[in-house]
Symmetry: D2
Subunit: 147 residues, 4 copies
């Protein structure tokens, strides 16, 4: 069976599961895949005590890690190996210990091997905690998971 035998959503789910199984970083931070689709990924992460900085709010690096993982899962969802080239993150509201953060990533545009993705990180009250815009670069003819 090859990729083309799967509908895009089923393929995205399979790629997500395959990436996640190998992704010690995302698993170690307690992330969970909540949804996968073509050009789309939604991941959650709960803010732990070991993610707090000296101001007792979630370190921006961990918020970025969640958003960056959602970006990576979205831009690899069609099973063509793709890497992040650059990200821009805006921090809007602080995240506190215990907050359940949700990062939703969506493809904005794909032009040749370059893609742009938007990620929005929200808390349980629906407030926007941060936004990320990511630029991706697709490798030539490489798969994320075996077909």
């Amino acid at each position: 069976m090859n990729d083309s035998a799967l509908d895009p959503r089923a393929l995205a789910e399979r790629v997500g599961a395959g990436m996640f199984a190998e992704d010690a970083a995302s698993r170690g931070l307690g992330m969970r895949i909540e949804a996968m689709g073509p050009g789309h990924a939604r991941l959650s992460m709960r803010v732990r005590a070991d993610m707090l900085n000296g101001f007792k709010i979630c370190h921006g690096g961990f918020i970025t890690a969640l958003a960056d993982s959602a970006f990576a899962f979205a831009c690899n969802s069609s099973n063509e190996l793709t890497l992040a080239a650059g990200i821009a993150v805006d921090f809007i509201a602080p995240a506190m210990e215990g907050d359940l953060l949700m990062a939703e990533a969506r493809e904005v545009v794909l032009a040749g091997r370059t893609g742009l993705y938007d990620v929005t990180v929200t808390n349980e009250k629906g407030q926007i905690v941060a936004t990320l815009r990511g630029r991706s670069h697709r490798a030539k003819n490489k798969r994320v998971i075996p077909t």
Copy 2:
């Protein structure tokens, strides 16, 4: 004794030590303060197995966490409480397990309560792994550590 009794470098070192003692996130990731000065910070971090993503390279979130910590230490170095408003990160070369990364943050400009900082992350071979440009916003009349 107050801040003005200290030269800027001694104050920066004291602020850095005070922030770091309270910063569970940076300590949990194994970061170390290598140098502090006015508008300047240098932090190191070794890439651990639990920082690798599904492609077996360091997850961009951890590289960002190191760079973001260096940015935070630099922009708080004069003991005026300052928060990150936004960051832009460009990933240049992958970082591998065991790599000792060094993040050097320097103030570019401070205009009123807004600051710009550049951070360069390098590996032991001196290769640039990533760059971060951060925009900071200073709170009014708040200290980082007691004076």
Copy 3:
């Protein structure tokens, strides 16, 4: 009559017209306001010969000028004086002489006096030429046009 006597769309249209009348830059580049609404603006500009760079494609500065104007009109649409703090622009496809570019700006989030806006620049074929993400900062109690 004051602002509160107008519905938000009518207010946005009035602010847009007032800003545009004073905006030598946007008028000189041949921009036109196509639509205004609360947190929203759509502006058009045709690529002229004097906007081409040495590669005979539209200079990125002019694409940015169009997107930045749309951003400015959107973030001032409620008649509270607001300035651009920073922008990130991704260039996706070249624009050629004669192309009619359309820039659509929308508010992503407004948190206190800081706002985030997304602008998409498309050509007549509907292709995305560039995207801009802008961060704005609102002045305290200043109007754009008299009320």
Copy 4:
């Protein structure tokens, strides 16, 4: 004679002059090349009345145009055709009519065909008006000017 017969500075100067002669946009805005070198360019532009926005300060698009031109001249200085992929601009201080702006662009890193450049725009008082960080992408085996 080919490129390798020139020292890098002479080549950069020749490329700059060749690009500028073809660049209607930069010439039309009154820019001047002040210096060229390998991975380096310095351009000036005086703020004209037709560059002012509705707030009577220089429209961000024109500041960006100057910075973006400096970026383009710097990243093409070795006569290998290179295009801007994305830019991030931070506006620090307003520029007024008559101000002579100077944009200085320098290569931060070149990794394969991807480059990062920093541009600083200052006024005659030496104040930083804006900063730009640009990401460039080099074409394969294309020249800017004939060799």
